[in-house]
């Protein structure tokens, strides 16, 4: 223990290693203070630098806006000079305006015409290799899905891509008409698609809005050309289940070619008559409309149908 560092000499009861530790701590403290000072200086410098750069940015922006203003002024002056040098300041702008208005009208007419084509159901657009047809379908006043055909005009004409559902007999129709009469091909395909979409619409509408009448045991297939289900017929005494099977033999029609209504044997004769009338009703009227008449008949108090 050196007596020279009196202010740091430890009391005598402390062990001998401690004075070294305390001096070590003092050194560390001094170092930490120095580092803190340095850091503060660095931060200050950084802040100054940032402030300087911000001022520079503002300066550059001002300069840029000035230059922009000058450029726009010059351009305006140039434009005015051009107009002034051409023959007569008045007629030229109106001629240009007229031309533009004419062009706009032409464009609008063409767009409207294309839109009308789309609404007719068959529309197309020329592509680099052929034509892309759009067949849009509708039923009962509602526009439904659109189907596309990308046709390549080579020898023979072939279909490159399409979005027609797989169960529509596209290959058969194409084999029959595509090479010889494109118009007929499109018309037939459009009829098939519209009929399919119409049958599907009827079936879905029936299930959605007339579920109170229906009895279940739905049978249908992908093309919706066979539909069978049970439905209830109410008379004044009780409710009888009828089963109807609809066959749509013609794929391009949305009305069935065969409608067989059946019921159990032990029903009164009047109901058998009713079955016959229902059968003819289904053959001639859309499904949901037929059920609409049933509903109306059920609502009126007059039960002699």
């Amino acid at each position: 223990m050196e007596p020279s560092r009196a202010y740091l000499s430890p009391p005598s009861f402390l062990p001998a290693c401690l004075p070294g530790v305390l001096s070590r701590l003092e050194k560390l403290e001094a170092r930490a203070r120095a580092l803190a000072l340095k850091q503060e200086e660095a931060e200050q410098q950084q802040r100054q630098e940032v402030a300087r750069l911000r001022a520079r940015i503002k300066q550059l922006r001002r300069r840029r806006d000035e230059l922009k203003g000058k450029v726009s002024l010059q351009q305006a002056a140039l434009g005015r000079r051009e107009e002034a040098t051409s023959s007569g300041a008045e007629p030229v702008p109106t001629a240009r305006v007229q031309e533009r208005a004419l062009l706009q009208w032409k464009v609008e007419t063409v767009e409207a015409m294309l839109r009308v084509f789309y609404l007719t159901g068959i529309s197309g657009k020329l592509t680099e290799r052929g034509v892309c047809f759009c067949l849009s379908t509708a039923y009962d006043g509602n526009y439904l899905d659109s189907y596309y055909l990308d046709i390549v005009i080579t020898q023979p004409v072939r279909i490159h891509r399409h979005s027609v559902p797989i169960f529509i007999p596209l290959k058969r129709i194409a084999a029959k008409y595509l090479q010889t009469d494109v118009r007929c091909f499109l018309a037939t395909l459009s009829a098939h698609l519209n009929a399919y979409v119409g049958r599907k619409y009827q079936a879905d509408y029936l299930q959605k809005h007339f579920s109170a009448f229906l009895g279940g045991h739905w049978q249908k297939n992908s093309l919706y050309n066979m539909l069978a289900f049970n439905y209830d017929v109410t008379t004044e005494s009780s409710t009888f289940p009828f089963r109807v099977k609809l066959l749509y033999g013609d794929l391009d029609r949305s009305l069935p070619t065969e409608a067989s209504v059946s019921c159990k044997e032990d029903v009164p004769a009047s109901l058998l008559e009713k079955a016959a009338t229902h059968s003819s009703l289904f053959m001639n009227m859309a499904l949901h409309k037929a059920f609409d008449t049933f509903r109306k008949a059920a609502e009126t108090p007059d039960n002699t149908e």
Partner: protein, 362 residues
């Protein structure tokens, strides 16, 4: 048709086979607990009142035992157990790998009215004429899908109910989806039965396989989003657009390039969601084209190489390659033709007569 065991458990209500009970128990155990009530309801065999009283709080083993008990009271047979298996696999259809098969008509027949009863009868008759020990069950679902479940046995063993094959068929379409069965020896018989029952002439396996059955259907039924050139502007759809950068002082250097990539991508892939495939495999049978220095490798032989792309959702990944900057737009037609050609297994051969790189060949 069904192979029943001779022993029956004499429980209250009716006799049920021990194997059937075990099968039902194991099927229920496979189902995650939260799906059990919905699945049993879709099955439609147990009465609704008892189903509502079913307690799903305890352990699954207890639930399975309770279900087996209910089935015993209602005398379930192998037929109902098979239907439960079909419902389970329909709900969890993405656990299996499905292969697509295409059928062709030998004669250009008219589209016939599809008769489900006749289909079932013809199918069963064709299979049972060769093999007696099979269990065949059908179930039709809302989207016109017919699920067929076949449990195969041999001449002297009962059908193995735990390794059944599933076939999904949509009426009036030429496609059937078969889930890979471990036993491939029964596949020809199954294909024969399919074409006999659905009035087709021939069937072949397509090079299209995936876990996601709905995506396979989308690809072959052409239900996926394709872009077609049309004058009619489609209605604007909400798309995930990056938020507009409001600060006009920040500009993007490569804005025009990004827009070009976006446009090309949209032309190729369309706007809507892509079908979900897990992999695409390309088998190369082309010549190895090397620099003149490497003369060791014989240039007479074809360089056999297999390239496989796998991803949880391959087509979406391919769609996002170009915008992410990892590939040039437009992408190679080998990658983008996957939904259009309806295949994800390709063989690439040399283009005949030209020394350039190979072409895709079926």
């Amino acid at each position: 048709m069904a192979a029943r065991g001779r022993r029956g458990r004499g429980a209250a209500g009716g006799a049920m086979d021990v194997t059937v009970a075990e099968f039902i128990r194991r099927t229920v155990l496979k189902v995650p607990r939260s799906h059990i009530p919905a699945l049993l309801q879709a099955w439609g065999f147990l009465p609704a009142a008892r189903l509502q009283a079913l307690d799903v709080r305890p352990l699954k083993e207890a639930i399975a035992e309770a279900v087996v008990q209910l089935c015993q009271e209602n005398s379930a047979s192998i037929k109902e157990a098979a239907v439960l298996d079909i419902v389970y696999n329909h709900t969890f259809q993405n656990k299996r790998v499905w292969t697509v098969y295409q059928m062709t008509k030998a004669t250009g027949g008219e589209t016939d009215i599809f008769d489900f009863t006749a289909f079932k009868r013809k199918f069963k008759r064709r299979i049972q004429s060769s093999l007696i020990n099979v269990t065949i069950n059908f179930k039709e679902f809302e989207d016109n899908a017919i699920w067929i479940r076949i449990a195969w046995g041999t001449s002297y063993t009962k059908p193995n109910q735990y390794k059944a094959t599933y076939v999904v068929y949509h009426s009036q379409t030429p496609y059937a989806f078969i889930s890979k069965s471990i036993n491939r020896s029964n596949l020809p018989l199954l294909c024969q039965a399919l074409i006999v029952a659905s009035n087709y002439g021939d069937i072949r396996e397509m090079e299209l396989r995936s876990h996601c059955l709905d995506s396979l259907k989308d690809i072959v039924f052409k239900r996926y989003s394709q872009t077609f050139q049309t004058h009619h502007p489609k209605p604007l759809q909400e798309r995930n657009v990056a938020p507009e950068n409001v600060d006009p002082r920040l500009i993007q250097e490569d804005k025009s390039e990004k827009e070009r990539i976006q446009r090309v991508n949209q032309e190729v892939f369309g706007d809507g969601p892509q079908p979900k495939l897990e992999f695409a495999q390309y088998k190369l049978e082309t010549m190895f084209k090397s620099s003149p220095k490497m003369v060791n490798v014989s240039e007479r032989e074809s360089f056999r190489c297999l390239v496989k792309f796998s991803s949880p959702h391959l087509l979406e990944a391919l769609k996002s390659l170009a915008p992410a900057g990892m590939a040039d737009a437009p992408l190679s037609p080998l990658l983008t033709c996957i939904p259009h050609k309806a295949r994800n297994y390709f063989k690439i051969k040399e283009r005949k007569g030209v020394l350039a790189a190979g072409l895709v060949s079926p």
